[in-house]
């Protein structure tokens, strides 16, 4: 029963879903590393991305143009993120830093409830599926759902683009500098509020992208962001809060563990395996695989 074929297939599907989880975790950790706040409404940005994708495919572009809908959905979530930072978060950052965490938690939790209720109010508690007319892809003898393969390829491309911009562009330098010292970067003449706005937009756009990519797989409904958000936070704990390589590696690790556990232990407990890993990490290495113990403000 432990055939090589099954093992390989399980590993491939684990890595593929892991990369999608990593997008989510990267968004959480990126916003934290720049703004020092947790965005608890991350799953709702995922949800908005999935609704945008569904609306574009079902009402406007048609299923053949699904690939065009994906960047448009992500861009829509990015733009919404800019508005949220400008209207709700920027005022918080005028307060002294001690109060910031508390305010940010309250504001993003309120946003979570508001957006979920809005989705239910506008589109009802229904499940939608943008469908996928992508053919099944054969990797050797193994069939893989076309929508999953497409989501994996898109996610990899987005991660590569994100990495290159962060590593090699001037704006990437400003972002990295801001994550190290918010005071220091202002001394260099950088407007941290502007950096915050872009970082928040990019962070939630990563969630929106995951939502758009997974819409045909995990469907579209008001609370569909919950599971991926929980996974996102699991990954952040495993990889270390604020660490970008940590988010990527832990994302793939979580995907693998869930997939292997489901295949070889029991698929009913798929969501438990990740939490077991989280507990193990918390016992052995509380800062996560790549986390740092305390940082300068």
């Amino acid at each position: 029963m432990f055939s090589t074929e099954l093992v390989v297939q399980t590993v491939i599907s684990g890595v593929m879903i892991g990369v999608l989880y990593a997008l989510m975790a990267l968004g959480i950790t990126f916003i934290y590393s720049i703004m020092r706040m947790i965005n608890w409404a991350m799953g709702e940005f995922y949800m908005i991305g999935s609704y945008l994708q569904y609306a574009l495919v079902a009402l406007l572009l048609g299923p053949d143009l699904w690939w065009l809908a994906i960047p448009i959905s992500a861009a829509g979530v990015f733009a919404f993120g800019l508005v949220v930072q400008w209207s709700l978060l920027k005022p918080i950052f005028r307060k002294p830093p001690e109060a910031r965490d508390d305010y940010a938690t309250v504001v993003t939790l309120a946003l979570l409830l508001l957006l979920r209720s809005l989705a239910t109010g506008l589109a009802g508690p229904n499940q939608f599926s943008p469908g996928s007319n992508l053919p099944v892809v054969m990797v050797g003898p193994m069939p893989l759902a076309g929508a999953r393969v497409a989501a994996f390829v898109f996610a990899l491309a987005a991660l590569a683009l994100f990495y290159c911009l962060l590593r090699y562009s001037w704006y990437g330098l400003a972002l990295r500098a801001t994550s190290q010292s918010r005071i220091g970067v202002q001394t260099a003449g950088i407007d941290v509020q502007g950096v915050d706005r872009i970082a928040f937009g990019v962070g939630v756009a990563l969630a929106g992208l995951a939502g758009a990519l997974l819409a045909p797989v995990f469907l579209v409904y008001p609370t569909n962001g919950l599971i991926t958000t929980v996974k996102g936070f699991e990954i952040v704990v495993i990889g270390g809060l604020g660490s970008i390589p940590g988010a990527l590696i832990a994302g793939v690790l979580l995907g693998l563990i869930e997939s292997l556990g489901a295949a070889f232990i029991d698929s009913a407990y798929q969501n438990i395996y990740g939490f077991a890993l989280v507990l193990l990490i918390l016992v052995l290495r509380p800062t996560g695989l790549f986390g740092e113990r305390g940082r300068e403000a």
Binding site: A174, R176, S181, V185, T187, I190
Partner: protein, 242 residues
């Protein structure tokens, strides 16, 4: 001519502590002014008010005649005022070269050079070459202080506010920093306000010093003049300066 840097009646209160109490001072273009005083005299608060970290409760700061009221730290930095911190504010996980390159971030928006040449020049000048690709957090305290100065000097500014640039640094790096200050001062007529407890260095750099005590400007003049004043000696708990 307008003074390069001027503060007019600055007040700043933190809870029950009046950290600066009606502080007015004026520094001419090209001057290196020393700012001395016992611990807790309000020197760092003054520096924070000048550079926009805190907003004054009353009074105002002018840079080259232009009011800085309502401007944030980054806007003041863009007007050509560079500061250094008592505790170095480097970007720890970034390399020495990347730290220097951040000084050009604001410049790039104005379509000026990307600073690659100046960055390499500064690495050579500070002899940080072998460490250029080392993360800043792995440097020694002195090297960090030197790098912080280098970040401030790689893009020449009009005005520098240096908070304790010499504290806890070995004499060789101290001399390197002094040379950099004098060089930028001479070549660009840059103005300096230097906070330091090291009287020997203040004597070497500054024609004029301002003495702060308990939030007020207690005296101003040459170091030798102020060192003779009874209130200054009293403020330093009866010890003569040095």
């Amino acid at each position: 001519m307008e003074p390069a840097l001027e503060t007019i009646g600055l007040f700043k209160r933190f809870g029950g502590l009046l950290a600066t109490n009606d502080v007015s001072l004026s520094v001419e273009r090209g001057e290196i002014r020393g700012l001395i005083g016992p611990n807790g005299a309000g020197k760092t608060t003054l520096v924070n008010l000048v550079t926009g970290v805190h907003a004054p409760d009353a009074g105002e700061v002018k840079l080259g005649g232009q009011s800085l009221r309502g401007r944030g730290m980054h806007e003041i930095a863009r007007l050509g005022l560079v500061r250094s911190f008592q505790v170095t504010r480097l970007f720890g996980n970034m390399t020495v070269r990347e730290n220097l390159m951040t000084s050009f971030l604001a410049r790039r928006d104005k379509g000026e050079s990307d600073g690659a040449g100046q960055t390499e020049g500064m690495i050579a000048l500070t002899k940080l070459g072998p460490l250029a690709d080392t993360q800043a957090k792995k440097l020694s305290g002195g090297q960090r202080a030197l790098l912080q100065m280098a970040c401030g000097f790689v893009v020449p500014a009009n005005c520098y506010v240096l908070d304790e640039p010499f504290a806890g640094i070995n004499p060789v790096i101290k001399d390197a920093i002094i040379d950099m200050i004098l060089d930028v001062n001479r070549r660009h007529r840059a103005t300096f306000l230097v906070v330091s407890h090291e009287m020997a260095i203040i004597r070497r750099l500054c024609q004029q010093v301002t003495v702060m005590m308990e939030g007020r400007v207690a005296a101003q003049g040459t170091l030798d003049e102020v060192a003779r004043l009874p209130e200054v000696i009293a403020g330093y708990l009866g010890k003569a300066l040095e």
